[in-house]
Symmetry: D4
Subunit: 179 residues, 8 copies
């Protein structure tokens, strides 16, 4: 059974299909953690009514968390957060000449009353949005919590392996690296 399902727990919304290469990372991570999700394109500025309606109905359809990704004047996360009491997670995307600083500030500086939880700019943020949603759902799902713990161990183990490989390479290529 696929995580992309009719009973999604996480909604991944992006402002444009040009954001898909980044936001796919959120989907991949949710797949890995076996959290069912859906993906949607809806713009805060070009399709505001659609976006508002989507946000208002999300909780009723069983969604537990919404991830929004966009660049520039990144209002999408805030606009969704205005219409729901679900946790909204923002992934700022660096699609302008300002390196994503615009999207970051537009997402993070929300006024008191309407929170958005902001991730790192770009792919790392999209990956983490998937994990963060899983962490939210895992507060009431022990099995998912276990998968998260296992993933965390894998991260530590990957570091261990990289360290081992580095040392082996350093020994093998000592002359190359240290000439």
């Amino acid at each position: 059974m696929k995580a992309m399902s009719d009973k999604p727990l996480v909604s991944i919304v992006m402002g444009s299909d040009s954001d898909l290469p980044i936001m796919t990372e959120t989907a991949r991570m949710l797949e890995k953690l076996q959290v069912p999700y859906e993906m949607e394109i809806s713009s805060a500025h070009r399709s505001p009514a659609r976006t508002a309606a989507y946000a208002r109905k999300a909780a009723g359809r069983g969604i537990k968390a919404i991830v929004a990704g966009a660049g520039g004047a990144f209002h999408l996360a805030g606009v969704i957060a205005a219409e729901t009491t679900l946790p909204v997670i923002a992934v700022p995307i660096a699609n302008s000449s300002l390196g994503g600083m615009d999207a970051l500030l537009a997402a993070v500086q929300m006024p008191g009353g309407v929170p958005v939880g902001v991730m790192a700019i770009g792919k790392a943020g999209a990956v983490n949005a998937g994990i963060f949603c899983a962490q939210i759902i895992a507060t009431a799902d022990a099995a998912l919590s276990g998968r998260l713990a296992k993933y965390k161990e894998e991260l530590a183990q990957a570091v261990e392996e990289k360290s081992t490989r580095l040392k082996a390479e350093l020994l093998a290529n000592a002359n190359d690296i240290m000439e």
Copy 2:
């Protein structure tokens, strides 16, 4: 007769009453240029439906331009622009520790398709928003265009007067200033 009227041509919207000291500057300038206006508080995040409805109905009520002022994750101008084809003018307000850079970027970096015309951060921007709206309306109102031309002359004259006063003071206080 007052510019604040039942048949306003300009709508001044702000996200919170804490923005009033800045946005009053827009009202003052519209008063000066005899452009009828109205003022409204409506939040992109705390009262999204209200804001969207207000923006959608503005043109039908005879409004010709909408000024939006807010700080932080300043989405209000973009959210209004999403719902109207009227020109939307943004006044970023420096109410966070980032000096208004957050509000500026959140307002100005709008995606193609949904423009917002952004003024300077703070009071100068609020003053200019009033003039800019008058300039928009004056494209089809010769009398207002004349008042704008007169205001422009006053600006130049004020510089002239300041220059004259400076020179007089420099002469009078030469010893003080140049010791």
Copy 3:
């Protein structure tokens, strides 16, 4: 019965007691939403072992979300996130000459694998951290979800009231404001 309790669901951790005036806002909001919490001072840099141990044990003690607040090289949220699979929420505090940009970037740019959900810099962020934690817990707590919906309505109503008051004042003081 007080929200500050022996069975807290949210942990509010700050790097120093100088952060208390900000982080108290998180506590106030959790009080308002009737979410039991605890407060702790623990530094990523001055008491690392204590911080790590605290983070590692939080889930086992029934904590559902951890809020971390600090300024400058704000590592506390990331260091906690490294030790737990609970959702970690960061409140950057502007306690240096850089207006909190340092704390924001140090908190938000986490690498893939270890998410932190970042709120706005300062008080607004601290308020929102409280709401965001409640939103997380409410994904499995219908009563809390109802309180959040009610709070959201209050926000919209407060805007409505401010708008009404503004208009009344404008009418009353028309001459003062518009001379």
Copy 4:
């Protein structure tokens, strides 16, 4: 009949021919919305008298709005605004190593008295400058207002179509994306 005409309503001015690839986007959009325009190269710094004369005469020739695009120390919009009471719209261009932050700040921080309405940096801003000019002219042109409304609907519909396409692709390629 072409929008580029002897009776232009919008003037597009750029500081150098190197800005043409960006500013052509303004022209394209005005074409689409059937707003007659003209294009001009004139520099605030290299041909100041020419620029000032051009700005002073624009209103008399029937121009309703002026778009200025340049990079770096972007003074062109301000210099034009100093010489006319027409609305002046600025498109900051990212042609230096600072990603357009220089052009943005040089354009937007105008002093009280002389407004410039600033669009996003680069192509999105140039597209929006065209729409914004049309919005200005449409305040007294119902037919153009209708074309703007239709364009707005197209934007929303394009989102709808992208969403449909995304979902179809996700279904078709589910295995690829979600392995």
Copy 5:
């Protein structure tokens, strides 16, 4: 005889009388170095024709260098440089919420062909503008060159004296400072 004279060699221009407290520092330094100067208020945006005429005539009146000071969208130096082949020196003033970064970038990022020599933001920059003008004039004035050399020695001597005083204080108050 005063440096403020009928035969000034340096012109100090500022955009507004609010810039006077800063720009007076340039005057003071020119006084000290016995370089005759004049002060003028003229705005790039509010009195453009006046500013252009002033810049065009400066060389003919015997002016050797022009200092321009302003804040925000600081176009004054560039606008003057566009109209003269005299060296133009800019003093960015921090009169907005952006700490003078706006004025600095608007002044410094001039396009090839029209140079402006930019000093530090604020008072230090205004002081240095006076010295820099003296350095320019001193390239053909040996007496002034001598006064500049003497001033440079005074700077070094002042450091020496401060160092001596510090050490004396440290000895005297050792217990206070080092408890």
Copy 6:
């Protein structure tokens, strides 16, 4: 016996006596850790020969590390590092309108070949410069290394005490804080 001595191991150099309130923090910390030091005022720009000579002679006089503090175009650390092979530590000071970002970048972006170790902007950085120098000297001084370990324990203990005090206050004032 005082740390301020005739046989200093650390030299604290500042560009101006206005930097003394910050740089005194370095002295205090060295006092605390019983590392003998000296303080000097010498400017990279106003007394370059003096500064260069001072830097060149430092190692010969037994100095083990040099701390330089200044603001704005903070060249002092780099200029000293150019003249010595001793470790040079920089404390950027926020004495301009840019919050110390200028001093930070001017100090930290040294070219390959001439390192400077940069501390935080302002007081925290000055405190840490003292500790860092002690850490350098402690690499060959076991007793100092012990004092550093003890200081580190004190830091952790202070956190512990603050935590205890916070919890006591929260209990005592529960009603005040949580009403």
Copy 7:
């Protein structure tokens, strides 16, 4: 006869040969304006004594202005200015990941007493450094002043020609551009 001569009036100093592609622009412009110059590589950090000696001797050798170009922690201009009363012009070079903001701030924020006149980052700044030096020398050289005036006319004429060409192209290719 070449401008690169035994009797140079302008010295172009750069921190490294990697800066040559930028600083050659200064040389080209001086060639064009027939101002004799010399080029030198000398580092503030890697060859401080050489740089200081060079700066101290420049005036005695007949140099009238010194241009310094470097990137990163750009101290070269300030270090030279510390040793001479000649006007020093800085060209910040964008050779780090910060787009030249580091070099700009390190050059421009000089303390009162030791001015540096800063040009734009990169090639435009290097071109302008050449013109600016010519402007300085032209304050006592009428022939050079005439060449500068002629160059200024050429700039204006080049704009005129670009404008003519643009309009011709627009007419010719109207269908391509405006489809």
Copy 8:
């Protein structure tokens, strides 16, 4: 015998193997200066226990200084400094869309009590980290101090050689460069 040895004096730690191309520069420089070192991969966020343990044991194994390199939310240096009294040197790496400003601020703004000495962003910083560690160790190692002095001479000589080569090329290619 190689510097990479069983008795390393310097530890080079990086957060990920993707940082290796930068951090190898530190190794190269230590090789050149004959300072034995080791390299390690350990992440502040993915392997916190491993990193803490490594830092705690470093001094006991004879390590004299630790270099940490990472990008984004660069906590690694701070986290290591929290666990050791050895000097910790940070190399911020520009691996995000913010050009390393995130890593720089996250590393440099450490709170009072826990210093980290920060180098330039990227390769120059990594090179300098090697030199800086050597400078630390050389405070108690006269032979190494001699090698550092020799390296410093080489730097100055390399400038001399580049200068000679530039002048030769300028003479040879005068026509090419100066046409």
